[in-house]
Symmetry: C2
Subunit: 335 residues, 2 copies
Amino acid sequence: MTTAQRPTLEAVAARAGVSRATVSRVVNGSTTVAEPIREAVTRAVAELGYVPNLAARSLVTQRTDSIALVMPEAATRVFSDDQVFPGIIRGVSQELEAADKQLVLMLAGSPAGHHRVERYTTGRHVDGVLFASLHGADPLPGTLARLGIPVVVSGRPLGDVPVPYVDVDHVAGVTAAVRHMIDSGRRRIATIAGPQDMVAGIERLSGYRSTVADAGLPELIAIGDFTRESGSAAMRRLLAEHPDLDGVFAASDLMAHAALRTLREAGRRVPDDVAVVGFDDIETAAYTEPPLTTVRQPIVELGRRMTRQLLRLAAGESIEQAVMLPTELIRRASA
Amino acid sequence: MTTAQRPTLEAVAARAGVSRATVSRVVNGSTTVAEPIREAVTRAVAELGYVPNLAARSLVTQRTDSIALVMPEAATRVFSDDQVFPGIIRGVSQELEAADKQLVLMLAGSPAGHHRVERYTTGRHVDGVLFASLHGADPLPGTLARLGIPVVVSGRPLGDVPVPYVDVDHVAGVTAAVRHMIDSGRRRIATIAGPQDMVAGIERLSGYRSTVADAGLPELIAIGDFTRESGSAAMRRLLAEHPDLDGVFAASDLMAHAALRTLREAGRRVPDDVAVVGFDDIETAAYTEPPLTTVRQPIVELGRRMTRQLLRLAAGESIEQAVMLPTELIRRASA
DNA sequence: TTGTATGCGTTATCAT
DNA sequence: ATGATAACGCATACAA
């Protein structure tokens, strides 16, 4: 490896016939530099192909200009075709790009991974930390916040940790979904709920319960974990226990997709016999058979908002403890 | 922000009653440290919650212990429910975690983004660079390689840049797919090809052409860009131009999925009237109507192999210029 | 407006 | 086996 020595401030300074300090000023856009000198320096920078050494810079500025996005899911689940995580990544990188910061991605599925994230983030190797989703009451966000490290979480954190978060309005979305089925005459509406150690799972279930309760309808519940597999199993259970059901609200499109198939295999027609509504509005939802009515959540926007909040926090501003994003019922053919 | 001063080597040294050098040795696992001293230092580290400052370390070691994964796609396409990119990310992070390195994710869809990536990577802010997919003949990988920066690309690079790459055996996969249809009696087999500025698109098309040619069958071609939308449009075109087609090989599952729907809308039964085979084996493939026969490519493994190659390269080893991963025909109901 | 001098927290070299 | 001490490349307070 003939790793050509990369030029330093020193080299540029020599070439331009000025001091290191002046070059540094030009590179960092200081206004107090005479035009001819600025030009000379700029030329020297270009000729030498100078690029600042970030390590050196961050050593003195105490900033790293990078932020971590932590995905505490098991690596195998983070990237199923559930589009939640990819969507968040996309939103985060858009906003980070605008701010000229780097995205350090950390999957923390295993305990070892979690520990690694803890070491890395508490070690202040990043200017801030974004959590993409929390399982149970993870103490890490709170720990970081207490250390004075900027943190923003997606989804209201379980337990009462005073960590700022951005979330979508699950309850409003679910309410709209269930109401829609009630309005079209369904009376035996079941739900395939999400995991009850995640806010999204908890809130979507509670939204369902209060809505059916308000309408004087019974609760028909089976728990899944947002995946297709769990959706199939849950649907089969519901069918066995409540053969007369005429509506299903699934807490994720993946589970709804599986429910669609399971219902068909059981000889039920959708939406004629059973109405089905999902949650997420993943791309596949428009291509299921029949196309899926579902609750859209602005997932890319979620990533963007989290990032904006974090950057403000890192800049020393104070921010709202909670930001809520709206959801929307997308009507297709399944309900 | 009461940013508690984080302890430095100096502080640990003072507490343990030794020199900075000794603490550094213990932290870095040097064997030349007496056991009692090592213990004292270890205790001091724990008590103070010391974590090394990576910037300072990398300033002297000339390593950053992080590698960049560049996705040169437009941000909007990188995370469609095409599982390719998420899969690669997953493979890369698994392997990186094992090597205790950080993943810096860079999307480079826009020209500005591309330039940003160039600056960042040529600036040696990472120990190596992985490219997740290339459009056309991107010069950046070659540039980096010439600068002595370790680079590994996914997919054979277009143009003849001598950059090491890992790819899946597109041709073998496509051949198996088309043969499968021929063997079951299809004689008018069309293809919905991928974009012709990407190797995956090019190779899958050429695999199709040679296979039908070998069988003395006609070429029926429409070009898409791997997305569902383009798949629908291409399928409609094929139907209009070749109403008698009895088989379709789509270069991506997303396009195959759209084709399935378009065929149904046109009143064709799959597989009775028309056989359909896709490529990728995304999770959705098992849930389409009918379930999709497709060519599975080991996408997570691709990410892992790329990473392993890169790490070897960064460690000064020399590596194979090309690594080819096998594909496999997964038979379901659509063909 | 520009230059000088200092320090950021490590690792590595060289003594001891 | 351990300790001084010199880099590493940069930003900035201060001096000019």
